[in-house]
């Protein structure tokens, strides 16, 4: 997903005009690279596109057919009750109930029946002979007519079964449902409250640490770096509960709540720091030594070197880590479940979605639409930070 765009330079132009041809003429390895990129892109975008289409489909259609059939009409077996007997009319000695199986103008009935055992026993145009001399006919536009020699009795209408071809239906109903169901907006804000500090704090700490670990001579530096790399492999699940206990114990001596935003910020910071320091150190340690020495001779102290030279030059690394960390925290459910409560003021989006799914009994339309709602923010973050992921930031500095 992380694309690296190279700023246009004059050396690019000769290739642009020749395009594909020159691509093919390059080494087989390049071709292989391009092919694998295409495969990866397809593998990524296809399910995403499916999810998007599904989220826009009608929920009944979604339940019975896959998203790839969404453009062709679906054939569904449905049941309605006729109008109740109070509405019966007497026409030529027979009692008649008339109505329409559906309001949908585009609906096309193919077959019908009157018993659940044979829901499609009759084709449209046929007249179905029911018990006690009753008849039923349904026309292809959905109009039905029930007639009986005796008056219809009972409070409810009769059950009618029909098979209909329903044209594709798209709409934002699912989104409306997800967004208007209580609490989503609040959860959105809660998620941002967790994610933004949990992204910014580790970056700040890690950038300072990475600078110190690459450019400030100190005893035991190598050991410290090895320790941080070692922390990369500690599984989160293993440390979660001990961490929570520790936090609670320390927190209780300061009178801090067991479940609070501070706790989850600290937890995410802790879990994010090893990777952040590792990534940023790799980048910062590879900045040309002469630039830093030159700044030092120019009179800058370590802090000035860090803020004026290192930070601006490290944008690509900072941005890529910011994307990683933001995605990870935004999509996290586990840490949020452990460190945050379930109250309205603390429930994050992932927890909210899980709850909605639970109470709706696994309704697909909620899942698809809410997946897209929760993806929107990370996508926005990615595209706004993507322009910092540029190569050639250092060009012109050292030969």
């Amino acid at each position: 997903m992380v694309t690296v765009t190279k700023p246009l330079s004059s050396t690019d132009s000769p290739y642009q005009s020749r395009g594909l041809l020159s691509t093919l003429r390059r080494s087989p390895l390049t071709l292989l690279t391009h092919l694998s990129v295409i495969v990866i892109v397809v593998m990524w975008t296809l399910p995403t596109a499916g999810l998007l289409i599904s989220s826009l489909r009608d929920k009944e259609q979604l339940a019975v057919s896959g998203w790839w059939t969404s453009l062709s009409p679906s054939t569904q077996r449905l049941m309605v009750r006729s109008v109740p007997p109070d509405a019966q009319l007497e026409e030529g000695g027979r009692y008649v109930l008339r109505g329409k199986v559906s309001d949908d103008q585009a609906l096309q009935v193919l077959a019908f029946g009157w018993s659940s055992r044979e829901p499609a026993a009759y084709a449209v145009g046929d007249v179905a002979q029911m018990r006690k001399g009753q008849t039923l006919s349904i026309s292809s536009n959905g109009e039905y007519e029930l007639s009986s020699p005796e008056p219809f009795s009972g409070a409810r209408g009769k059950r009618l079964f029909y098979t209909a071809k329903i044209p594709p239906r798209f709409g934002l109903d699912n989104y409306r449902e997800v967004l208007t169901t209580g609490g989503i907006g609040q959860s959105f804000i809660n998620s941002l409250t967790v994610t933004i500090p949990a992204t910014v704090i580790p970056i700040l700490i890690a950038a300072f640490a990475a600078y110190a670990l690459s450019w400030m001579a100190m005893p035991g530096r190598g050991l410290l770096i090895a320790l941080i790399v070692g922390l990369l492999v500690v599984p989160l699940q293993m440390s979660l509960i001990p961490l929570l206990r520790m936090y609670n114990q320390i927190g209780s001596t300061f009178g801090v709540d067991a479940k609070s935003y501070l706790g989850i910020w600290l937890a995410h910071t802790g879990f994010g720091l090893p990777l952040a320091i590792y990534l940023l150190r790799n980048y910062i340690a590879n900045l040309p030594k002469e630039i830093i020495e030159s700044a030092r001779v120019d009179g800058a102290n370590d802090f000035e070197i860090f803020t004026r030279i290192i930070l601006p030059l490290s944008f690509p690394a900072l941005a890529s880590f910011a994307i990683f960390q933001f995605l990870w925290v935004w999509n996290d459910l586990l840490v949020a479940t452990v460190f945050l409560g379930t109250g309205e003021q603390q429930m994050v989006l992932t927890a909210r979605l899980r709850e909605m799914l639970g109470s709706y009994g696994g309704n697909w339309e909620v899942l698809t639409a809410s997946a897209f709602v929760s993806m929107a923010v990370p996508l926005l973050v990615f595209f706004s930070l993507q322009r910092y992921l540029v190569r050639g930031l250092l060009s012109g500095s050292v030969k």
Binding site: P288, E290, I291, E293, S294, A295, R296, V297, D298, G299, A300, N301, E304, R308, I309, P312, L313, G392, L393, L394, S395, G396, S397, V398, K399
Partner: protein
């Protein structure tokens, strides 16, 4: 006052000593060039002066003040790196203003100094550009500009021209020479591989070899009176010819015998040497002359001829030497490969080196300079 004074400066990396006690006194405003073969410690010494490397032992003074423990940012030096080391995210203007902004100079002062420097280096029209939009020569000028705006006490250059092509190198060399004129009070130290740069720019040259100072003197001094075999071979192109000889008779004038048996009296004092001692004779290629067979001191077969128009270089394989002798003859000389030539040499230009490689002429002069002081230099007493 001295600009930079080094006294017994040593540098070790782990247990590996790379500078073995350097003593130098560089005058205020002097332009000093460090030369020496690759890996001899030139850059290390320069970086120690800048404060980028710690000093393992010894004392360093800049304008009289001990700076051993003063960090690079407070030493008041400016350095031009071989790789330019411009700040890639800043414009030319910001690159030059950086040091003054760090020093919290006022906006007007910064603006004035940057424009002054830009004018001097013909960079005015590029002030708004990023380094990546500049050519190599322009980048190098920005690097120099960045150093001069600070009016440093000591100006350090580490092979600043080695990334430039030949024409640009000449041009930038002239610019550096002009800079030296414009900043008479600033001590400048310049590291280079290039002899021409060293000879043309330097007030004095320091020849370094394997972490030691071989000789410190003006370019012509080094050329005409090298202290030892190393300097003799290192300075000058083509390198000085070296031949083994034997001392026949010592005295204010020495009589030497070539391996061919021919003898020559040279005006080099060798009073303290034993007769029969083995010596090395050094003679510059331009001090060799074509001669007839009878008067020749050296004869051999021509191996290679380089005709350069104003002069001709001939490479001769002589019986008297294991290595090839190169003679620089004025004008166009018709000679070809395989021909036998006879050469004589100018006796007053001959250098003699003892078995330790020290020049007898240089030692003699040193002891004269030392005057009537009781202490004789160690070098001389060693050889008695």
């Amino acid at each position: 006052m001295t600009g930079v004074k080094l006294s017994n400066i040593r540098k070790s990396y782990a247990r590996n000593e790379v500078l073995h006690g350097i003593d130098l006194e560089i005058e205020l405003g002097e332009f000093v060039v460090f030369v020496g073969p690759s890996g001899c410690g030139k850059s290390t010494l320069l970086r120690m002066i800048a404060g980028l490397e710690s000093i393992s032992d010894g004392e360093m003074y800049i304008e009289g003040a001990l700076v051993n423990h003063i960090p690079a940012s407070m030493r008041g030096t400016a350095m031009v790196f071989q790789t330019y080391a411009l700040y890639p995210h800043m414009t030319v203007y910001d690159n030059m203003a950086f040091a003054m902004r760090i020093a919290k100079e006022s906006k007007e002062v910064i603006d004035e100094k940057v424009h002054q420097a830009a004018e001097l280096l013909q960079l005015t029209e590029y002030l708004g550009r990023l380094p990546k939009a500049l050519s190599g020569g322009q980048r190098q000028r920005v690097a120099i500009g960045r150093a001069i705006v600070r009016s440093p006490k000591v100006f350090l250059f580490d092979e600043p021209l080695s990334n430039l092509d030949a024409a640009l190198r000449v041009q930038t060399r002239i610019e550096i020479a002009n800079l030296k004129e414009n900043m008479p009070g600033t001590t400048m130290i310049y590291v280079t591989h290039d002899q021409v740069e060293a000879m043309t720019l330097a007030d004095r040259i320091v020849v370094l070899s394997a972490g030691k100072v071989e000789q410190f003197g003006s370019p012509l001094e080094l050329y005409t009176n090298p202290a030892n075999l190393f300097v003799a071979r290192f300075i000058g192109s083509p390198a000085m010819n070296i031949l083994p000889v034997v001392l026949e008779q010592s005295g204010p004038h020495s009589l030497i015998r070539f391996t061919s048996g021919k003898t020559l009296s040279v005006p080099v004092a060798s009073e303290l040497m034993e007769e029969g001692a083995e010596l090395q004779l050094g003679i510059r290629s331009e001090d060799l002359l074509l001669s007839d067979k009878l008067n020749a001191l050296l004869s051999g077969e021509v191996q290679f001829v380089e005709s350069l128009g104003e002069m001709t270089l001939i490479h001769v394989k002589c019986k008297e030497s294991d290595s090839i002798i190169v003679a620089k003859l004025v004008g166009i000389i018709e000679l070809h490969k395989g021909q036998t030539v006879h050469l004589s040499l100018m006796a007053d230009k001959v250098h003699l080196f003892n078995t330790e490689g020290h020049s007898l002429r240089y030692l003699d002069q040193q002891s004269c300079d030392a005057g009537q002081q009781a202490e004789q230099p160690d070098l001389v007493t060693d050889n008695v």
